[in-house]
C-alpha cells in the first residue's frame, strides 16, 4: 500500500522513465533473449518459437571449425598488437605535450592531434586507400628516396595488421591523451620546483613525478583494454577487408556479420557472437577484480 502510494506520487518520473525503459527492453534485452537461436536451427520462416532445438550443436562446431579458430587467433593477435603499439603511443604523446611550456603551442598541437578522432572510419580508410596506392604519395616517396618498387599496401595480406594498427594510432592517439593530460593537470608545480632544487634533470622529473602521476590511469586503462580484448573495431576492419586479405584479417565481429547476414547462417553466427559476448563478460568482470586488487577503484 505504501509502495503504491509512492508509485502514484512518482508517477510523472515513471512517465519520463518509460520511453527509455521501453527502448532498453526492446532493443537491448529482447535481443539478449534472442540469443536462444544459438541453441536452435533457426529459420526466419519458422521464427523463434517453431524452429528446432538442437542444444549445444553450434557451440561444439565453434572449435571444430578451422575458420573460427583462425578468426579467434586473428582477433587476439590484432588486440595484442594494438595494446603493444597503439596504447603506449598516447602515453608518450601525453608526456611530450606535458613538457611543453608554451601554452599557445601546446593548444595548437592539441587541436591538431584531436581532430582525426572525429572523422569516420570510411573517411580515414578512404584517404589511406589513395595515400597508399601503388602510385600514391607514399610509394612515390619510397621510390624516390630508397629506390623501392611500389608496394600494394592495401592488397598485400602481410600489410593488413600493421596498417590497421597505424590507422588506429593516427586516428586515436591524440584523443587518448586527454585522460592522461587531465590527470597531469592535477600535479602541483611545487613538486617540479622541489625536484629542480634537489638537482633533478628533466628526465628524472619525468621518471619520478610525471609518470607516477599517471600510473594509476595507465593501469586502469590497460586493464580495461584487456577486458575488451575481443573487440577490435568492426567498422575499420570491415572496410579494410578484401578477398586478398580476408584470411588474415577476418575477426570475430566481421565473421559473425558475414556468416549471419550475408550467408544467413543465423544460428551458427549467433553462437559465435554469444561465445564472444560471454567471454567478454568474464574478461571484463575479471579485469575489474584485478583493478581492485591493484588498489585501483575499478570501473563499477
Amino acid at each position: 500500500m505504501v509502495q503504491l502510494r509512492r508509485l502514484w506520487k512518482e508517477k510523472y518520473l515513471y512517465l519520463l522513465l518509460l520511453p527509455g525503459l521501453i527502448y532498453f527492453i526492446v532493443y537491448r534485452y529482447v535481443p539478449m533473449l534472442g540469443n536462444v537461436i544459438a541453441f536452435q536451427d533457426f529459420s526466419p520462416f519458422q521464427g523463434f518459437l517453431h524452429s528446432d532445438w538442437v542444444g549445444m550443436k553450434h557451440f561444439m562446431k565453434i572449435f571444430e571449425d578451422k575458420e573460427v579458430v583462425r578468426v579467434i587467433w586473428n582477433t587476439l593477435y590484432l588486440s595484442f598488437l594494438q595494446i603493444l603499439f597503439a596504447f603506449p603511443a598516447s602515453v608518450v604523446l601525453s608526456l611530450l605535450l606535458n613538457e611543453v611550456r608554451n601554452g599557445k603551442f601546446k593548444r595548437i598541437v592539441q587541436s591538431i592531434v584531436y581532430l582525426p578522432h572525429f572523422l569516420s572510419w570510411v573517411v580515414v580508410i578512404g584517404i589511406a586507400t589513395v595515400f597508399l596506392k601503388t602510385n600514391g604519395v607514399v610509394n612515390q616517396l619510397l621510390h624516390s628516396v630508397f629506390g623501392m618498387e611500389p608496394i600494394a599496401f592495401m592488397q598485400e595480406p602481410g600489410w593488413f595488421m600493421p596498417l590497421i594498427v597505424l590507422e588506429v594510432i593516427w586516428k586515436e592517439t591524440g584523443w587518448g591523451t586527454i585522460i592522461f593530460l587531465a590527470a597531469l593537470a592535477g600535479v602541483s608545480p611545487a613538486l617540479y620546483e622541489a625536484a629542480i632544487v634537489d638537482g633533478a634533470n628533466r628526465w628524472r622529473q619525468i621518471w619520478h613525478i610525471t609518470l607516477p602521476a599517471i600510473r594509476s590511469t595507465i593501469v586502469i586503462l590497460l586493464i580495461l583494454r584487456l577486458g575488451s580484448v575481443l573487440d577490435v573495431g568492426f567498422e575499420q576492419i570491415f572496410l579494410m577487408l578484401n578477398p586478398l586479405n580476408k584470411e588474415i584479417g577476418n575477426v570475430l565481429d566481421t565473421f559473425v556479420y558475414f556468416k549471419g547476414i550475408e550467408q544467413s547462417d543465423f544460428s551458427f553466427a549467433t553462437a559465435v557472437g554469444l561465445f564472444k559476448s560471454f567471454v567478454g563478460l568474464v574478461l571484463i568482470v575479471g579485469a575489474n577484480r584485478l583493478a581492485k586488487r591493484f588498489g585501483e577503484e575499478g570501473v563499477y
Binding site: F24, P31, I112, S120, V122, T129, V130, L274
Partner: protein, 294 residues
C-alpha cells in the same frame, strides 16, 4: 615556476618541439594530400606530377560530383537522420537520466539494467532480427531508433543532473509544480549548455555512423553519405555509384576515381570541421565527467 635552464634542458625542449611539429604534420598531411588530389587534373594525377602541389588546379572532380544527384541525396538523408536521431536521442536520454537521478522506487534495478549493457552486448544477429521484427529494415528509422540511447551518455547525463542542487526542484515543488513541469521548466533550461555538448557528440556519431547503415539499409535511395563514400573511395566504384554523372561525362574523359573520391570526402567532412571548434570546447569536460562513476 622555477625552470632548469641548463643547456641540456634547452636542447631537450628544442627536440621535443620538433617531434611535436612532426607529429602535427603527420596528422595534417593526409588532409592536405586529400585537398590537392581533389583539385588535380587527370594527367597530373596519373603521371604523378602533383606530389605536393598540383601543376594545374582543376575543378573536374567537383564538377563530376555536381553532375550526380547521388552524393547530395545521401547528404540530405544523412542530415535528416542526424537531426532527427540527435533530437530523439537527447530527449530520451535526458528524460531517462533525470528520472534516474531522482530517488525513484526501483532505481537500483534500473541502473543495474543499464550498466549491464556495458559488459554484455546482445550481439549483431539477434539485434538484426529484432530490428527486422519491428519492421524497421530498409527504413531510415533503423538508423535512429535502435541506437537511440548510448548507455555511457545516459550515465554521464544522470551524473550531471545529480550535481544540480536539490533546492531548485524543491522551490518549484512548493510553488505547486509537478515533476514533469520541474523537468521541462527548471531542469532543462538549466542544462542547456550540457545538452548542447551531448547533442554535438550524438550528432557527430550519427553523421559518421556507418555500421547500422550497411546492416539495415539495402535501398540505395536511402544510403547515408558514409555508405556512398565507401562505394566511391574504398571500393572504387565511382562510375557505378554516381552513374548519372558518369553518363553525362561519357563524352569527355571522366576524372579518375581518386580525385572524385577525395573531393567527395572533403565535401562530406566539411560539417565535422565546422562543428570541431565547438566540440573542442566541450570534450575535455565530457571525458572528465565520464571519469566520474555512475
Amino acid at each position: 615556476m622555477i625552470r632548469s635552464n641548463s643547456r641540456l634542458s634547452r636542447a631537450a625542449d628544442i627536440i621535443n618541439y620538433c617531434v611535436l611539429i612532426l607529429i602535427g604534420i603527420a596528422m595534417l598531411f593526409p588532409f592536405y594530400y586529400m585537398v590537392i588530389v581533389s583539385f588535380s587534373s587527370y594527367a597530373d594525377f596519373v603521371q604523378q606530377d602533383m606530389l605536393l602541389w598540383p601543376k594545374t588546379w582543376v575543378l573536374d572532380a567537383y564538377e563530376f560530383i555536381l553532375g550526380s544527384k547521388v552524393l547530395f541525396r545521401s547528404i540530405g538523408v544523412t542530415i535528416f537522420v542526424t537531426v532527427a536521431a540527435t533530437l530523439f536521442s537527447l530527449l530520451l536520454t535526458a528524460m531517462m537520466a533525470y528520472a534516474l537521478a531522482r530517488n525513484i522506487m526501483g532505481q537500483r534495478y534500473f541502473l543495474f539494467m543499464i550498466l549491464f549493457t556495458f559488459v554484455f552486448s546482445a550481439g549483431i544477429i539477434p539485434t538484426y532480427l529484432v530490428v527486422k521484427e519491428t519492421h524497421l529494415l530498409d527504413s531510415i528509422w533503423a538508423l535512429i531508433i535502435p541506437s537511440a540511447i548510448n548507455s555511457f551518455n545516459l550515465i554521464v547525463m544522470r551524473q550531471f543532473f545529480l550535481s544540480i542542487p536539490n533546492e531548485l526542484s524543491e522551490a518549484a515543488l512548493i510553488d505547486g509544480a509537478n515533476d514533469l513541469q520541474i523537468f521541462s521548466r527548471v531542469i532543462l533550461p538549466l542544462s542547456k549548455p550540457s545538452l548542447a555538448a551531448f547533442g554535438l557528440f550524438y550528432a557527430v556519431s550519427n553523421w559518421n555512423a556507418y555500421f547500422n547503415a550497411i546492416l539495415y539499409i539495402s535501398d540505395p535511395a536511402k544510403w547515408t553519405v558514409q555508405v556512398v563514400l565507401r562505394q566511391i573511395v574504398v571500393l572504387g566504384q565511382t562510375k557505378a555509384t554516381l552513374s548519372d554523372a558518369a553518363q553525362m561525362a561519357m563524352a569527355q574523359n571522366p576524372p579518375p576515381t581518386e580525385t572524385v573520391g577525395m573531393a567527395a570526402i572533403l565535401i562530406a567532412t566539411i560539417p565535422i570541421l565546422v562543428v570541431y571548434p565547438f566540440l573542442q570546447k566541450h570534450f575535455a569536460k565530457g571525458v572528465m565527467l565520464g571519469a566520474v562513476k555512475g
